[in-house]
């Protein structure tokens, strides 16, 4: 019974391996290929159900390498929900390979799940790297040059992380997060701790594509297929943010070693993301910068080093993962400038609604999930007296909202052009994708309006990290 909790991870990995083998060995008939996305979405949905049913059990596995607590439950449930909706909503005709398009997001999901339940530094790093490697494969399928760029930049981030984590281990004397927290209660902020934390934060900022560290992630997301872009912008960034939250949870006894870095990163990301989104002309670039701005809010919540701040960040991370991963998938192959979206509100109403809600949520518009998360973080910032950061965040959100209005205008106000003059095709309509778009709209709306139990669970998640 104890290992039932690990069943979701097992299901996700098994599904990924089977799909890869089926693609490689040609096991799939044309009919099976058509129904495969629905089957995989069902598998992740079942995994989500098991996680919610059995995930409340508190347990440790592999001698403390993995820990099942409320934090893990929240983050794993959020990422499984994200994967389910992404598989349902994506326009599979716009993807380069069905099997790799299904397997890589599954592996990335597995990576986030490992990071979420990591009990030590090794599992944290491994989870993040699995998610990032899956994203490199997805990008390289369409644009090998961008895949290589992402790999090299990711390598730098990985090196920074590894060196930082190794130094941290050397300074504290343990790789266990819980023990590290206990040791640091009697410790003082020293340069020997500040330097590795700086390296780790830099690596995570690159992984999360935070401004000004989006050296490869944003170009890669532009060149990738829709689901590949969602993987880079959403799941990998969510994995990095999960790692950051867990690390900050362990380092809260000595906030002086990370708070200043995080403040700077958060301020740059919130304002820079909003400003860049406003300046962007392409909807996918706009989504990328909106995502960067919102992940800046997640970082801002960590600055507070209070339970309420971390709970707000965790809640926002769930909203971010769903919106940032699914937004490019909902948009489909409508790439290029905003004229590609002209008339989408009339021609593809469900997908247009989904894209609007995703972008508005990423921008922090009321009453959607992103707004509730950003407000929870803002309340924590106010309680902890970070008014300068709060002001910058509000400014960044205002810029983001103005940016989204431009895209909504293109979808709903501009008349659809003649199909002959359209530079890129709108997403193909299928039963699954229409259902997925509607389900996505419902999730984004419900996550915000009925956020009380979700925020309550996020609060328990922050408590599980040892915060009071």
């Amino acid at each position: 019974m104890k290992y039932t909790v690990l069943l979701p991870e097992a299901l996700v990995v098994a599904a990924a391996v089977l799909v890869l083998l089926a693609g490689r060995l040609g096991w799939l008939s044309p009919g099976a290929r058509r129904s495969l996305p629905a089957v995989v979405a069902l598998v992740t949905l079942v995994a989500l159900g098991i996680e919610l049913w059995a995930g409340a059990t508190l347990a440790t596995y592999f001698e403390g390498g993995l820990v099942q607590d409320r934090f893990a439950l929240f983050a794993k449930a959020a990422v499984l929900l994200t994967a389910t909706i992404a598989f349902a909503v994506v326009d599979w005709t716009a993807e380069d390979s069905l099997t790799i398009g299904l397997a890589m997001p599954l592996l990335a999901t597995f990576g986030v799940m490992v990071a979420a339940s990591a009990g030590d530094l090794v599992a944290l790093w491994a989870g993040l790297e699995v998610a990032a490697a899956a994203a490199v494969v997805m990008v390289a399928m369409r644009r090998p040059d961008l895949g290589l760029r992402l790999l090299v930049t990711g390598g730098v981030a990985s090196a920074l992380l590894l060196i930082g984590l190794a130094f941290l281990y050397a300074s504290v004397g343990t790789s266990s997060l819980a023990t590290m927290r206990a040791v640091l209660f009697s410790g003082t902020p020293t340069i020997a701790l500040a330097i590795p934390v700086f390296l780790v934060m830099s690596g995570l900022a690159i992984r999360a594509a935070l401004a000004p560290f989006q050296l490869a992630s944003i170009p890669a997301s532009l060149g990738a297929s829709p689901l590949g872009a969602g993987l880079v912008l959403g799941l990998v960034a969510a994995a990095a943010a999960t790692v950051a939250i867990k690390l900050v949870g362990a380092l809260t006894p000595i906030p002086a070693v990370y708070a200043t870095y995080l403040e700077l990163i958060a301020a740059f990301a919130m304002v820079g993301g909003g400003a860049a989104a406003l300046a962007a002309q392409s909807p996918r670039v706009r989504i990328a910068y909106l995502a960067a701005g919102q992940i800046g809010w997640v970082a801002a919540g960590l600055v507070t080093h209070y339970r309420s701040g971390l709970a707000g960040s965790l809640f926002l991370l769930g909203a971010f993962a769903v919106a940032a991963t699914c937004a490019p998938a909902v948009m489909g192959r409508a790439e290029g400038g905003e004229q590609a979206l002209h008339g989408m509100g009339v021609l593809r109403p469900a997908r247009a609604a989904g894209l609007s809600l995703a972008m508005l949520s990423l921008a922090g518009a009321p009453p959607l999930a992103g707004f509730f998360g950003e407000f929870a973080v803002a309340a924590a910032l106010a309680q902890s007296g970070h008014f300068a950061l709060l002001t910058l965040g509000v400014f960044g959100t205002a810029l983001s909202l103005a940016a989204v209005a431009g895209t909504m205008r293109a979808m709903y106000i501009q008349s659809p052009p003649d199909e002959a003059r359209r530079t890129s095709r709108l997403p193909v309509l299928t039963g699954l994708s229409s259902f997925g778009a509607v389900a996505f709209c419902v999730v984004i709306a419900v996550y915000g309006i009925f956020s009380s139990p979700i925020l309550g669970l996020a609060d328990q998640g922050a408590e599980a990290l040892g915060l009071r």
């Binding site: 509730f372 803002a378 008014f387 709060l390 205002a398 909202l401 709903y412 009380s452």
Partner: protein, 536 residues
Amino acid sequence: MIWQAIFAASPTPTPTPTVPGAGIFSSSLLLSITVWVPIVVAIAIAIVPNPRGRYDTLMKQIAFFTNLGLMFVLGVAYNQFQSFLPTLQYEERVPWLPAIGAVYHLGVDGPGMTMLILSGAIGIVSVLASLGVRERVRSYFCLLLLAQASVNGAIVARDMFVLILFWGAAAVPLALLVLGWGGHRRHQAAWRLLGYWGLGTGALILGTLALYSAAGQGSFDMDVLLKATISPRVQLAVGILMIVAAATRLPLFPLHGWARDVYSEAPVGVTVIVAGSASRLGAYLLLRTLIAAEPAAAHLLAPVLAALAALTVGYGALVAMRHHDIRQASAYLALIPGGVTVLALAALQPLSIAGAVLSLFAGGLAAALIVSVCATLSERAQSRSLHVLAGLAPRMPILTWLMVIAGLAVLGVPLLATFTSNLLTFFGSFKTQPIGAFAVAAGLGLGAIALASLWRRVLFSAPNPDAPGVSDASLGETWYLGMLAGGLLWVGLFPGGPKLPGTDSPLFDQGLVNVLSAGISDIASPYVLPTPGPGQ
């Protein structure tokens, strides 16, 4: 009659006689209905299939009957409102987000009920004014209903989180309406609206969070947040942020940059909702968060508010005089009622606070009427230029009457609701803000000159033989403009409600001044001057 009304408006709560029909209908979700029904209908309109606009007429009918139904519900609420109770009525309180201390708390007192009635009336007028929309009908009415729901939500919110939610949400549908159905300069208008209102929302969020932090009770409920003991320094900072938020919405000089473009470029139905109810939320916010909650900051900032009021009224009148575009001139004239409302708030007197609440209602109707009548006139005359429009009175008798009433309402002449509100305002403000009151009065004088000049050129000068053909208001236009004018006349003639001769029993309307006075004693209690003793 008017003097009786003024007497009745002084905040001394007394039971009013039972109104026939009171108590026949009640619902604990009455306020939620006013907020969520338009949202549900908007979603329904958005998802119902409408191939090639086949059901456009049905969409319009749905929007109209939704507003009519809401107005019926609000009429019941108004009729059953206990005007002698200082406490909240129709209160709803459901725990929502305990992690951050937000509660789904709705409720209305006298000012809230007054604003709700205004919003309900404006909702019907805006739908009637939008019946001529031909393009993308579904999206238009969906956005209009969402905007109206946001305004209602901001009015009834008794939790600052809920207030921010609806306050911020109002900007998006209105900006999209301007962007999608506006005139030639619609892009500029929409971006300005978003920019200014976004700034205001940011200021409101920062002010609320500063208050939340200073109160230290982990709650956004107004009953907790606005009654906490806060240091004067924090009160001052919060007060300044609230003034910025209000000034962007009302608008007040110098944060009025969106008004000219939006009032002159938006379709008439949108103009009505922005000028009539959405923009009044600015003064309503000041009443709730500054005047009612932070008396120390209110005392310090009252001269600033009076100065802003005077600048707004004077600037609006002066610029209206110089404009050669009738819609832009009307946009500046529409700033004047907002300035008067803020002067009333700045006076910090029980009488003037009652005047401010009445001014929210009357000023909203007056501003909506002046911008909508000028928009209709320019459409019917096929020109906006004052060089072209001339001598229209003989050919447009209905619009001429309505334009004269609109102008008089802006100025606040007797028999109109704005007269009563202006009277209460000046009676209160000449005591405590004499310079500001004098400046606003002088601004109203300038406004009168601007209006007289406008009437003379457009209505009563020699006709322009080169002007395009004109026609008078259609039946539909007469209805919606007439409803605004009728509202102003009704409250102007019967501020205390119509009564049978020789009795105190109201016939079917207990009187707006009776309703609005509920709760004002509570708001005004920090500003009641001590009564001199017999030996003093």
